[in-house]
């Protein structure tokens, strides 16, 4: 059986997709379709989901730092009395949630207003553990700091464990630059998140 024709069709499709991704607003349109955003309102807690982890020198990655700073900003604006930092232990032994909490304390957040969750490895796992932490305190509504493309999946996972999660999306890849490399990176994020969302749907996590 000759594979030539199917390979040519696949290759031509890839070529068209590359040009559409790099030189048209396609990735931006797809990213907006995956993003869920609700207007900011006061909640019981601000939950900053794990993401990006810790670098080998013990500092937060750009992704993790961006989400942390966003969470701190929401706290400073008085939108919730409690900040929950999530993030597991990394391969080099650093715990993302603890480093985030340390940064928050250094920025003046009172230690009693900080909770950490360092056991969950997946979004669904994080949702279950954070729900257990917060429901003990009678909290049902949260502001969920998450990457823009993952906001639909994450808010669904939290809704499934009984929390009303208002996603506060943080762009991890700029959606406003418009340069080809940024657009390709955005399409990659969209592809990863769309696959993850599909996996969560099929596996019953949503």
């Amino acid at each position: 059986m000759s594979l030539v024709l199917p390979l040519r069709i696949l290759g031509a499709t890839g070529l068209v997709l590359f040009f559409a991704a790099a030189f048209t607003p396609l990735p931006h349109t797809l990213s907006r379709a995956l993003t869920v955003s609700r207007s900011l309102e006061p909640a019981g807690a601000i939950v900053v989901l794990g993401g990006g982890g810790v670098r080998y020198d013990g500092s937060l990655t750009d992704v993790s730092l961006r989400r942390t700073v966003y969470g701190l900003d929401l706290f400073r604006r008085g939108l919730a009395p409690l900040l929950v930092f999530s993030g597991p232990v990394s391969r080099n032994g650093y715990v993302e949630a603890e480093i985030r909490a340390e940064l928050a304390r250094a920025c003046g957040v009172p230690p009693v207003a900080i909770l950490i969750q360092s056991e969950g490895h997946t979004t669904s796992d994080e949702a279950s553990r954070i729900a257990a932490l917060l429901q003990r305190r009678g909290i049902r509504k949260i502001l969920l700091v998450v990457d823009a493309e993952g906001s639909r999946r994450a808010s669904g996972a939290f809704a499934r464990v009984g929390l009303d999660a208002l996603p506060v999306p943080v762009d991890e890849v700029s959606r406003h630059g418009g340069d080809p490399e940024g657009s390709l990176a955005l399409l990659r994020r969209v592809a990863i998140e769309a696959s993850a969302w599909l996996y969560y749907r099929v596996s019953g996590y949503l």
């Binding site: 390979l7 890839g14 490895h121 418009g178």
Partner: protein
């Protein structure tokens, strides 16, 4: 869109330059460009196929380790540009191999059975 315009202008200009050089100096004929383009799509298709297979095998292995052995490995480990580059190299090598003359066409000989030996 400034970056995109600059990149597209540069690439278009060098492509036109290469076309002129190829047809006037290197003796290449314009009609064979179509065949070359088809070959490019074949190699790209092969690269995408390798990439898909690499991702599928990677995800399946990670999920199997999670559920069977209880080890947690993040699927995000596969989110690395090197996988795409390596898939491209696999495709180039596979394509070169496929086009290299000298396939093993040794005739298939029937193994002699024990009954034959016994005559």
């Amino acid at each position: 869109m400034k970056t995109a315009s600059v990149i597209l202008t540069v690439v278009t200009a060098t492509s036109l330059g290469a076309y002129v050089l190829a047809t006037r100096r290197l003796g290449l004929v314009p009609s064979s460009l179509r065949i070359a383009t088809l070959r490019l799509t074949e190699i790209l298709g092969t690269a995408l196929l390798f990439c898909t297979i690499n991702l599928a095998v990677g995800v399946a292995t990670i999920l199997a380790l999670r559920f069977a052995a209880g080890w947690f490995l993040s699927v995000y480990f596969l989110n690395d540009l090197s996988l795409l580059v390596l898939s491209g190299l696999q495709a180039l090598l596979f394509d070169s191999w496929r086009r290299t003359p000298g396939r093993d066409r040794a005739p298939v000989t029937r193994a002699r059975s024990g009954a034959d030996d016994l005559g």
